[in-house]
């Protein structure tokens, strides 16, 4: 008799404990998945923005001439000459929400993927006339998602400069 009564209490406790643990676990799992998604969104925007910034500023530093924009002007396309003749001209521009790099006669290559959308690409040549070109690049990157959920909303503006070394 005593064993049966004890088993019932035990069962009740077990069920209660299991419910608490399961509820807590599921809540935590939900938070974890949300955090993982946000992490992916943040990393996608930050890393692609930084990578593009590095590629463009490094290309400018290694360039032999900047054809466009000319000193003291700005443009939405950057045209460079490099030491490698077959890569001339090297062109950076924005098309369909992605930044493209085109070297010489080769096909244009997208520097950003479809998970992000780039806007407001701008190149400013801030060097005084007669001095080495100094290009300032700026653009905005937002995570590309049709969802309106907050977890998918993330955008950042990127700025960087590179001056010719010659």
């Amino acid at each position: 008799m005593r064993k049966s009564a004890f088993t019932l209490i035990e069962l009740t406790l077990y069920i209660t404990l299991a419910a608490v643990v399961l509820f807590g676990s599921s809540t935590m799992m939900s938070l974890i998945f949300e955090a993982r998604t946000k992490d992916m969104v943040v990393n996608e925007v930050e890393q692609q923005g930084d990578a593009v910034l590095q590629i463009i500023t490094q290309s400018v530093r290694n360039a032999t001439a900047v054809n466009s924009p000319t000193p003291e002007t700005s443009a939405d396309t950057l045209t460079l000459d490099t030491l490698v003749g077959t890569n001339n001209p090297t062109i950076f521009n924005l098309a369909g929400g992605a930044i493209f790099m085109k070297e010489g006669a080769a096909d244009a290559v997208a520097l950003t993927n479809s998970r992000v959308a780039v806007t407001a690409l701008d190149f400013q040549n801030l060097a005084p006339v007669g001095t080495n070109d100094d290009l300032r690049v700026s653009f905005a990157i937002a995570y590309n998602s049709s969802s309106t959920r907050q977890v998918y909303q993330y955008s950042r503006n990127f700025y960087g400069s590179g001056a010719l070394r010659q």
Binding site: L17, S25, I32, E46, L126, T131, D134, S161
Partner: protein, 332 residues
């Protein structure tokens, strides 16, 4: 014995059985707690990891902005190295070019400051610091340091200087013109002449003024010169001078040096150097190297003028001053 065992064993079994039940509950609690701990830890890692990604992104963008600060300084140094004045600076874009504005600038959430210090006359150390509020508990800060050298002015083989002509007056005073009426209130005789001996060394030019009591007199020599660069980093003037004849005490008796854009009489107060009050005769003395870069801001023709000014002599008297080794140097 057997009887005793037959009583004790079932009791022990019963106790063990009951203890096992109790252990099971503790086990369940322990298991639940461990699970919760693991879940909390994992979720904490992910949630704070997400925060870390955001902070790392801000840090990368801060680095790009700090680099941009150094690139802007590089651009400005090429246009005009002398524009890199020591102290804190902010950046702004004006007229399609970088320029310094204020002591900081504020791109989005960041605060950027460029601190320039002089390592030597042709080298600047620039520290580009970007700081921001990384989270509610801590601030982020990134500093990049660069050194900028005025290569066009360093090393004798790379120097390209121009200078005024005939500095030593060893054969004549060609290139120099004497003006005897900068100030002429009395009727004393004023003259300027080249002397072949007695200079520092060889020839020299003099300024001789026979001043009347309480009458101001001033005379000067000048030479035009033409520069070809804007905002020269460094331009200098050197001269030797001597008070050869000291007539009498005056309210003021000094040698003045001017760099002017016009050939008209110089204006007191705009001089780049003066000798200080002359109270007697002196030996030849070299003026310290005078920086005149600020007086020749744009390429063009300027005039170096060296004069003697006697104000209110307390009696009629003659003053004679000698000049030698007069050189203005500017980058070409």
């Amino acid at each position: 014995m057997k009887h005793a065992l037959s009583i004790l064993i079932p009791r022990a079994r019963s106790i063990i059985s009951q203890k096992r039940l109790a252990f099971s509950m503790i086990e369940a609690l322990l298991a639940g707690s461990l699970l919760a701990l693991v879940v909390f830890t994992l979720s904490g890692i992910l949630i704070f990891g997400q925060e870390s990604s955001r902070i790392a992104g801000d840090s990368q963008r801060a680095t790009a902005l700090a680099e941009e600060g150094l690139e802007a300084v590089r651009s400005m140094s090429e246009a005009s190295f002398s524009s890199l004045t020591a102290g804190p600076h902010g950046l702004a874009v004006s007229g399609g070019k970088w320029q310094f504005l204020g002591t900081q600038d504020y791109p989005e959430i960041f605060t950027r400051s460029l601190i320039i210090s002089d390592l030597d006359a042709n080298t600047k150390v620039v520290t580009s610091t970007v700081s921001w509020s990384a989270s509610s508990q801590r601030n982020g800060s990134i500093s990049l340091v660069g050194r900028f050298t005025n290569w066009r002015r360093v090393g004798s083989s790379m120097d390209s200087w121009a200078s005024t002509t005939n500095p030593g007056f060893d054969f004549n005073s060609a290139g120099w013109t004497f003006v005897n009426n900068w100030v002429h209130k009395g009727n004393g005789v004023r003259s300027g002449a080249r002397k072949s001996l007695g200079g520092n060394s060889g020839g020299y030019i003099n300024m001789s003024v026979a001043a009347k009591k309480n009458k101001d007199e001033a005379v000067y020599w000048y030479q035009p010169f033409t520069t070809t660069v804007d905002s020269p980093a460094s331009s200098t003037l050197n001269l030797d001078w001597k008070s050869i004849t000291f007539g009498t005490t005056a309210t003021t008796y000094r040698i003045y040096v001017f760099i002017d854009a016009s050939s008209t009489n110089p204006i007191l107060g705009t001089q780049v150097w003066d000798s200080g009050e002359i109270t007697g005769t002196t030996a030849w003395a070299s003026a310290p190297t005078i920086d005149i870069a600020g007086k020749i801001p744009t390429a063009g023709t300027y005039y170096v003028k060296i004069g003697a000014y006697i104000m209110n002599p307390n009696k009629n008297a003659t003053f004679v001053t000698g000049l030698d080794n007069v050189t203005v140097k500017w980058p070409n």
